[in-house]
Amino acid sequence: MQSDGAVLRMRGISKRYGSVTALQGVDFSLAAGEVMALLGENGAGKSTLVKILAGLERADAGTIEIGGVLRRLRSPSQSLHAGVAYVTQELSIVAPLSVAENICLGSDRHALWSRRRLDRVVRRHLDLVGLGDIDSATPAGDLSVAQQQLVEIARLLSRNARILILDEPTAALSDAEIEKVKAVVRTLAAEGRSIIYVTHRLGEVFEIADRVTIFRNGHSFAPMEVKSLDVDRLIEHLLGRRLEQMFPERGSISGPVVLALRDVTAPGLREPVSFDLHKGEILGLAGQLGSGAAAVVRAIAGVTPRLGGTIALHGRPLDARSVRNAIAAGIAYCSDDRKRDGIFAVRNLFENFTSPALPRITVGGVLSRGREVKLASDLAAFFEVARDRLGSHAGKLSGGNQQKVALGKWLGIEPSLLLVEEPTRGVDVGARAEIYRHMRGLANQGLAVVFVSSDNQEVLGLADTVATFFRGRLVRITAAEHLKPEELLRDVTHPEAVAAGGPA
């Protein structure tokens, strides 16, 4: 890259957190109008770099030039002023305010403007992010997550951001929504803005990025042209080794039926659902948000009430009226929001790992330190969480490690059924493969697993059996081996129906 084409140039950036080196003399540059993907496992340093650029963290050493001018970015407002906008996974949308008000949020001069005048101001930005057909007076809370994300981008564009940092923008979105965001990214790049696209999804890199910068262990590598890469080589660069296989081998399922659903109805389901699940089987429930896939597992887990039908576990009717009942019956459930109810962010991993299995580490009401350490260490070893991290707060871990904790803690109760929503949301590639491997390993030992996923690749790769859901209805149940990706996509999106009836 020739030096005069760069809108952003970061040189020799270093950052330490206590004894941990997050970035070590990292160089990074960005050209006008390009989409630069940032790849790296969690903890590799890419988040730290973008946070420094966004003014959320201060570098210990190094310089930042924006548009050829040396800048000091000590606060988000300084960064924004320098033309850098940061869109995180945690949206800063104020739900009760209108779309237009959200876009103008933070600039007081709009406070007293009429609705029409506001609309005129924000319309241009809404068009740019593909929300041209939305009434700017709609409360932002009524929009989908993807639309809210786009509103947030529009807000930052209204501040004349020239460099946009999108931090895993598609992590929480379903496939259809992802397409929309990607289209906006391309539009913005074509407009001459530069985009830093942090992602875990390798596919996205090939779809929208011009170049990719890979981070590993606090170092960055020279950017590569995406055109010159293929998936295998990208993964090789990313992991520093060749990833044998993302998904583990399937086993043979011959065990007895563990879970049997008969005509089950629950909130979020429009039609009764029936299926059998065998010992050692992994069932993938594929569907977008609101498809009903999650509603099924929530009813089994006792999170939401079952409205009709029967659920049998090991042939005995299950009356899980509460999460506690379900747990007592040997059902483990991980929601799709591990930060909300999957981990104890301010407690260490010993306490996290042992939390559902307190009786197991208790003798006469008193905790046994030995048993606790043993159980936590075993679980950590099983899930390949470094043992010296056991003392850290769970909130300090990478997304992948947090997910391992959220999953792993359940093994302490020796469950016979594991229910997981979105097992790899926000998890980096390396850790994904690990989680898949662990889930398969658990199934191989006789655990019955049900997972819900909006990631079709994941469903096809991990599940033995796939149940597809669309708008509260079970579309079909089929062996994963015999399901083609196009069929799956068609099942969960019903493109014709969507085109006719609008988004679900």
Binding site: V323, R324, R347, N348, S355, L358, G370, A381, G391, S416
Partner: protein, 334 residues
């Protein structure tokens, strides 16, 4: 249930062996270390300026002063750590238990029966509040209301008179000095490690901490989160009962006018000790240190003849300062 044992089979590498416990506790110790450092600095300054400050006698006096506040602050730390902020009825419950104890003693129920009945009542007074909070009521509003109820009841029980116990049977409880240390201080010195052990080493203590750290996660892990509020408030009630009995026993009298400003002192101890308001973090020891620090500071100011206005100003600013400091520390750690 299956006989499924994933861990033993698969985790060949797993052994309950070496980990570094220092890493586990370092964070928690930051706040504790700050309070201890502040104690040492204050003791040093005090010693330099006031000759009688750093004497054994005075140390006993300071511990004695810290004791009542400290004992209740231990209970309050449970409430705070369980994620229920503060109970603003501690002062009132202590007053009520003092009056009830006085009334029972005056009515000649005998020391043992009076003690048991009073403590039972104190525990119940806490448990009822805890139960209501466990059902989802706001802890501040609930305890505020109960505070009014308790104070009113104390006024009714005592008929606004000085209840004279009319016997010296209980006196030792308020004035005794086994091995030269006042009973209140014994209670404080014994209950502090006990409170720590219960929170750290028992299952119910763990449930309390986890419920405070993340109520939703605790619930979805199958823990009875309601137990947290119940336990915290019940123990706080018992601590208030001890304080009430001690005060009534000390002078052989009880009146509905005791413990002025105790709620503030206790909350101040918890905050100065650096216990995070949002729950799930901190230890009763921090509350104890907070109480000790405030008592030391009060003593220093009293010996140096600070006017009561200045004393209030200084303690108030200390609480504000501590709250800000620990808040900033918290944010940096995240």
């Amino acid at each position: 249930m299956t006989s499924f044992r994933p861990i033993a089979d698969v985790a060949g590498a797993g052994s309950g062996g070496e980990f570094d416990p220092r890493v586990a506790t370092r964070r928690r110790r930051v706040a504790t270390a700050i309070v201890i450092a502040a104690l040492v600095v204050l003791a040093g300054i005090g010693g330099a300026f006031t000759p009688t400050f750093l004497t054994f006698d005075n140390l006993l006096v300071v511990i004695r002063q810290a004791s009542i506040t400290g004992v209740i602050a231990l209970g309050m730390s449970y409430v705070t750590i369980s994620g229920n902020l503060f109970a603003l009825s501690a002062e009132e419950l202590a007053i009520l238990t003092a009056c009830i104890f006085g009334w029972l003693m005056r009515a000649k129920f005998g020391l043992a029966l009076s003690l048991i009945a009073t403590l039972l009542f104190a525990g119940l007074g806490g448990a009822v509040q805890g139960g209501i909070i466990a059902l989802g009521a706001d802890p501040i509003i609930t305890t505020l209301a109960f505070g009014g109820f308790f104070r009113g009841l104390a006024s009714v029980v005592s008929q606004n008179q000085n209840i004279l116990l009319g016997t010296d049977a209980a006196q030792w409880l308020g004035t005794g000095r086994p091995l030269g240390v006042p009973t209140q201080s014994w209670a404080f010195l014994i209950l502090t490690p006990l409170a720590w052990i219960v929170l750290q080493k028992t299952r119910i203590g763990r449930v309390l901490v986890l419920a405070g750290a993340n109520r939703a996660a605790a619930r979805s892990a199958g823990l009875r989160v309601g137990q947290a509020a119940l336990l915290g408030l019940t123990l706080l009630g018992l601590c208030c009962g001890l304080a009430g009995i001690s005060a009534a026993a000390q002078f052989g009298q009880a009146v509905a006018n005791l413990f002025q400003g105790l709620n503030f002192d206790v909350v101040a101890a918890v905050l100065v000790g650096g216990i995070a308001l949002r729950g799930g973090q901190g230890s009763p020891i921090q509350a104890a240190l907070g109480a000790a620090f405030i008592a030391l500071l009060q003593n220093f100011m009293l010996l140096n003849d600070f006017s009561s206005g200045w004393r209030m100003t200084v303690v108030g600013s200390l609480v504000a300062l501590a709250t800000c400091l620990f808040h900033i520390l918290q944010r940096r750690r995240e």
